[in-house]
Amino acid sequence: MSAAPLLALDAVSKRFVRRLDAAEKIVNLFGGNRREEVVHAVDNVSLQIAEGEVVGLVGESGCGKSTLGRVVAGVHAASSGRVLWRGRDIDSLSGAERREATLKIQMIFQDPMSSLNPRMRVRDIVGEAPRVHGLVSSGEVADYVDRMLLRVGLDPSYKSRYPHQFSGGQRQRIGIARALAVQPDFLVCDESIAALDVSIQAQVLNLFMDLREDLGLTYLFISHDLGVVEHLADRVVIMYLGRVVESAPAAELFADPNHPYARALLEEVPRIDTRKRVFQPVKGEIPSPLAPPTGCHFHPRCPHAMPRCREEAPALREIAPGRVSACHLNEA
């Protein structure tokens, strides 16, 4: 494939710095030892997503998957690295081109309550952006909103209502309609079904699959739920403490995970077909992202850790076509 991927991340990092406040600076004047706290939420991540692909981004809390999603969606600016949309650095674009690229990438959020403005009616939530950006004329907005609501399976006659009058699943559909209203090519779904009931999760997942079919959407699907990712994704990227540890086609990864963390994660997902199993947990806790372990971040919990893992962070290496993993074991 020589065509540029739809979206590419080139060595993207995102750091959050908590600066010292005045009081702490004064403490330091008197010999205090207050330091700025830096969290490497996303640490040098490169990623390509082809048009029409569904990439699942998996990891536990603090792994930076949500932050990465927000960098992709343009909610956070990357601290370093580039985000390329159809081969062009979004930061280098200006004016209309930049707005175009921003609108083409939309995000579906986790919390169906806080992601909708409680003081706005559904028709304004969905219709505001297309109207402001002139995607539809103000005379057509009402019709356009109706079409969007139908598209996500909501009855347009309820568009004068407020978000709190809907159920969780319906609210999530409103959020999807809002994103679709600016005609995106790419959806970042950040734990978009995690807050919903099981039977409603299936409805929303089906909606995502229908939209992919009908509109040719590309997805970055962020989730801690491996079952969902396995079902939906073409490719899976696993993150641990800000770094990608493995990236592989979904079928291959679930059949034979390479990285020890990927293996642990897959083994520990409860599955409905495994009954009265004996849980064999990986030891230890997820370290604080404020002070990640040296070398390979996973080494304190890894059953195969060697002295080298403590000192040197393993690079991502191709272990099979289209498949990379960051583990020193692969070199032996």
Binding site: M107, S114, A129, R151, Y158, Q165, Q170, Q203
Partner: protein, 307 residues
């Protein structure tokens, strides 16, 4: 299109159509009988104040009507023209009931006007601080801190000493003494709202900063502002009364409640209690009702108590 077949979406929303934010608010507010009572009383007071010229028995500023011979009559006495002074008269022979109603008019308008102006100023400054962050926020919030650490009466006294008397002057003084409360309130709630996902969604949708601040964040900060606004209105009324009592507030010709109390105070020892006490009671009732309504508003509008 497969997705429209899902009956899920077509199903009715969880709550009925009539359940607008305002209706919910009304239903919650009427939970407390005391608050309803206070609200009714407050509306009555406001009506009295607004329509004072038509409701008051006498125009206390009209020197043709007021007679010095009627001065300091006890409650229930009659004037020489046969008019009954239900609450008595003051030192200048004004009907006290009318004087109180007109005084209420002045006290309320000073309180409400200063609250609205202070709210507007504080809201804009607070939103700016929350959204801009960094040095601008630091600077604004330090000014707010300094302002809040000084007693409001003291600030107002100093300002009035410089500005002189007059309704406009006292409103300016009250605004300067109180804007910081609003700024702090708005900043606090705007900081919370700013981090919510709907603001991130608005950024994703490419909406402008101004639109995000004023159309998305601001409407969600209004509730605590209203609460602080009511309480601060009561505060402003009390502050104005204090200043008038101290003689730096309003001119003698158009007495507010504070000035009426102050005028009546000299007669307290001679047993003519009503001249100071009735305006005092009126002031007390006004402030207490506003505060009760404010408290109930706070309970009803508190987002943490909402389901």
């Amino acid at each position: 299109m497969a997705s429209t077949e899902t009956p899920a979406g077509g199903a009715a929303p969880v709550r009925p159509a009539l359940d607008t934010p305002f209706r919910r608010f009304l239903s919650d507010f009427t939970d407390s009988r005391l608050a309803v009572l206070a609200a009714i009383l407050l509306v009555t007071i406001i009506i009295l104040a607004v329509f004072a010229p038509w409701l008051a028995p006498q125009n206390p500023y009209d020197l043709a009507v007021v007679s010095i011979f009627d001065a300091r009559l006890p409650p229930g006495s009659q004037s020489m023209d046969g008019v009954t002074f239900w609450l008595g008269t003051d030192g200048a022979g004004r009907d006290l009931l009318s004087a109180i109603i007109y005084g209420l008019r002045i006290s309320l308008s000073v309180g409400v006007a200063s609250a609205i102006i202070a709210l507007t100023v504080g809201m804009i400054v607070g939103l700016l601080a929350a959204y801009a962050g960094g040095r601008i926020e630091g600077l604004i919030m330090r000014i707010v801190d300094i302002q809040l650490s000084l007693p409001a009466v003291l600030i107002a006294l100093i300002l009035l000493a410089i500005l002189g008397k007059g309704i406009d002057k006292i409103i300016i003084a009250l605004v300067i003494a109180q804007w910081a409360y609003y700024a702090r309130t708005v900043r606090a709630s705007a900081l919370v709202e700013r981090r919510r996902e709907y603001v991130e969604a608005a950024a994703c949708l490419g909406l402008s900063h101004a639109r995000i601040v004023f159309r998305h964040i601001l409407p969600n900060c209004i509730a605590p502002l209203i609460v602080v606004g009511t309480v601060q209105t009561a505060h402003a009324i009390a502050l104005e009364a204090t200043l008038s009592f101290l003689g730096v507030g309003l001119p003698q010709t158009e007495p507010s409640l504070g000035l009426l109390i102050s005028n009546g105070f000299e007669y307290m020892l001679s047993g003519k209690y009503w001249i100071a006490v009735f305006p005092g009671v009126a002031l007390l009732i006004t402030i207490v009702t506003i505060n009760i309504v404010g408290d109930q508003l706070r309970d009803v509008l508190n987002p943490r108590l909402q389901k």
